[in-house]
């Protein structure tokens, strides 16, 4: 009896050293050049300090030197996985400054493109999240299917990743004749693979064990940190800019906003954030089907493109749109010339990443990687 007591006493006096681990900037799972300074106690994470800026390309400074249309290719390079969605809030902001009414056909093509790109983005997000958990096969299934979407975009814009397709007042090119059919074929394939991945990965016992009940983000914390997109909806907040601050023609479509329900664990865990992306792909498919059915066949996509681009002096606007990752906003200030005075990009990933230190404390080191993966960041947008 005395002996056990003594051992316990000694154990409590033992000091365990904490280890500072530098995760990144070159690391397979930081999704780019992110550096996390992690303090671990054994395998438990006690502190996370993100160090960003390794991919800083002076986007905002560049914009001051460019004319309004020249900014679009730079905007593409923010969240390079969903470039169509990046261009949209920017061109919308400038269109609002110039008070341009965009033709009907352009609006429909923009919706279809943005939703296709949303699917492509979520495919990568779920795929890399699965890869972080160690499942390699769904990763390749998604990349195979993403090709169908990229082919469509390549045929329309000439580029596979950075499109420069949405122009101020219109589009760079009209769509090709078999466009509608190919879009419908692509979403058929997307649905097929999603059903397969649901079985193979999402409801896999090991995957649920790994991702449920970790990285819990309560709704009030998420709002305070201004999280948006699936990161916020995973916490059960039914908020989507397409519905709640509607823009373009989204009020014409019938779709749901999937939210996390805490189906397998606590509400707002990594699994919830991930499942929201899976359901959103299906909702995007629904929007695309409706848009393809309603889209007018005739119309000039370039008719509203202004020849002279000089927004009124002092005019300024903050335009936001629902990027696949969340709210992407552009604050555009004009000085009356053809070059903007100031463009501030409110990077979705930048804001969403700032919540990481809060939600990853106290979990294991392997969980940290999954929590980071579930936020779905792109470093191009974090560092700008």
């Amino acid at each position: 009896m005395n002996e056990t007591k003594k051992i316990q006493l000694e154990y409590s006096q033992m000091e365990s050293d904490r280890m500072r681990l530098n995760v990144g900037p070159q690391h397979p799972s930081t999704h780019g050049v992110l550096r996390l300074e992690v303090e671990i106690d054994g395998e438990i994470v006690t502190e996370v300090i993100p160090h960003i800026g390794y991919l800083h390309r002076c986007f905002e400074k560049h914009c001051e030197k460019m004319t309004y249309p020249q900014v679009i290719p730079y905007v593409d390079r923010l969240d390079y996985i969903s470039a169509m969605n990046n261009e949209w809030p920017y061109v919308m902001a400038v269109e609002k400054l110039l008070e341009i009414k965009v033709p009907e056909k352009v609006e429909y093509i923009r919706v279809i493109m943005a939703e296709l790109n949303r699917i492509a983005n979520h495919q990568i997000a779920v795929a890399t999240f699965g890869l972080d958990a160690g499942a390699f096969t769904p990763f390749l299934y998604f990349f195979r299917d993403r090709e169908y979407i990229l082919w469509i975009m390549e045929k329309c814009s000439g580029a596979r990743l950075l499109f420069n397709y949405f122009w101020i007042g219109g589009l760079a090119h009209d769509v090709y004749p078999s466009f509608k059919q190919e879009v419908l074929d692509a979403i058929k394939q997307v649905r097929k693979t999603n059903a397969e991945v649901m079985n193979l990965l999402i409801y896999n016992k090991i995957f649920i064990d790994r991702t449920a009940n970790i990285g819990i983000l309560p709704a009030d914390v998420a709002i305070n940190y201004a999280c948006s997109g699936p990161t916020l909806r995973g916490s059960g907040v039914k908020w989507d800019l397409r519905k709640d601050d509607t823009y373009s023609i989204y009020n014409r479509f019938d779709f749901n906003i999937p939210v996390g329900k805490g189906e397998v664990g606590q509400l707002g865990d990594c699994w919830d954030r991930n499942i929201v992306r899976m359901y959103e792909m299906e909702e995007s498919c629904k929007i695309i089907e409706q848009a393809v059915a309603q889209m007018p066949d005739t119309g000039d996509v370039k008719e509203a493109i202004p020849a002279k681009l000089r927004p009124p002096k002092g005019a300024e606007i903050y335009q936001r749109a629902e990027n696949p990752k969340g709210e992407l906003g552009f604050y555009v200030v004009s000085n009356g010339t053809e070059k903007p005075d100031r463009i501030k990009a409110r990077g979705t990933s930048f804001v969403n990443l700032s919540v990481l230190p809060v939600i990853s404390k106290g979990y294991m080191f392997a969980d940290l990687i999954l929590i980071l993966g579930s936020i779905d960041i792109v470093l191009g947008e974090v560092d700008r």
């Binding site: 397979p28 699965g130 958990a133 160690g134 969980d367």
Partner: protein, 350 residues
Amino acid sequence: MGETNFLIKLLGDNLITVLLISALPLGFLVVYALLAILGELKISAWMQERVGPMRTGWKGVLQPLAEVIKLIQKEDITPDAANKPLYNLAPYIVFTGAYAAFAVIPFSEFFVPSGINLGLFYIFAVGSIGAIGIVMGGWASNNKYTLLGAMRSVAQLISYEIPGAMAILSIAVLSSSLNMQEINKAQTGWFWNWFMFGGPGSYEKLWVIPFTLGLTLIYMIASLAETNRTPFDIPEGESELVAGYHTEYSGMKFAMFFFAEYANMFVVAAVLVTAFMGGWNSPFGSFLSGPLWGAFWFIGKSFFVIFVQIWLRWTLPRLRVDQLMYLGWKILLPVSFICFLFVSLFRMLN
């Protein structure tokens, strides 16, 4: 010893024969490793609806060879801050541990390199040498990732050796021998005589079949953990630990680790086949049986087990380290004890 080894019969018991016997598994191992790498590449490609490597040779069959050549000619980097003697020694120790186990694997009725009576015990003993090498390499690399990987690896190896050993011990009870060749001989006949299905016996063995099947499963799971394969590839989990204990290794030293992993895969498959799946016995009684057919059945069954390992790797995500420990200590260990108890009871009653 002599009667189980055709080379000794053929050439006599002298030094050259002994050297030949010890070199033969190495030759087999090289061929097998190339085949297994090709299998890994092609099976993963098939499961992921890709074609896999196609450019080297016919349908890419020479790809593993090309990879080996690449690894040999790569620059061998030793980190400045590494503890050089330990760093350089570690891959060889890991490989030695894996290769030493080949000494008692009965490839056929007439070929087992060393038919010692403590075969099973010996395999477990030398299997632990690898852990020393891993911890040596992980520590000597002087990198936090390798250190974490090595610690995880050793914790995993030690915890999963116990349920694995319990499963094998039950077979020792059933066959009343630790000699791998004797265990094989005890399972002669049709496939229902395998220890997986309770071993030879009539209807009264039926109630023990669930326990022996459970033991097979336990050994399969434990063997995955011992070879660091998915879903237990936590020591080298590339998503958090970059490459685990061999992060700093390159060139030939990395190839040794790689080689050792594939060698270990075969060893655990061979033990599984020997202990539970009849070893070199034909599944169909005396049909297609004989010394050469024995080698065929043994290697074929082992390859099937390796195929299952590859299959699982490309299907399942990875466990977390605490879940791994939970599974090992709280599920597999008690279950293996219960199975062991009932198998022993069965043995006592008969």
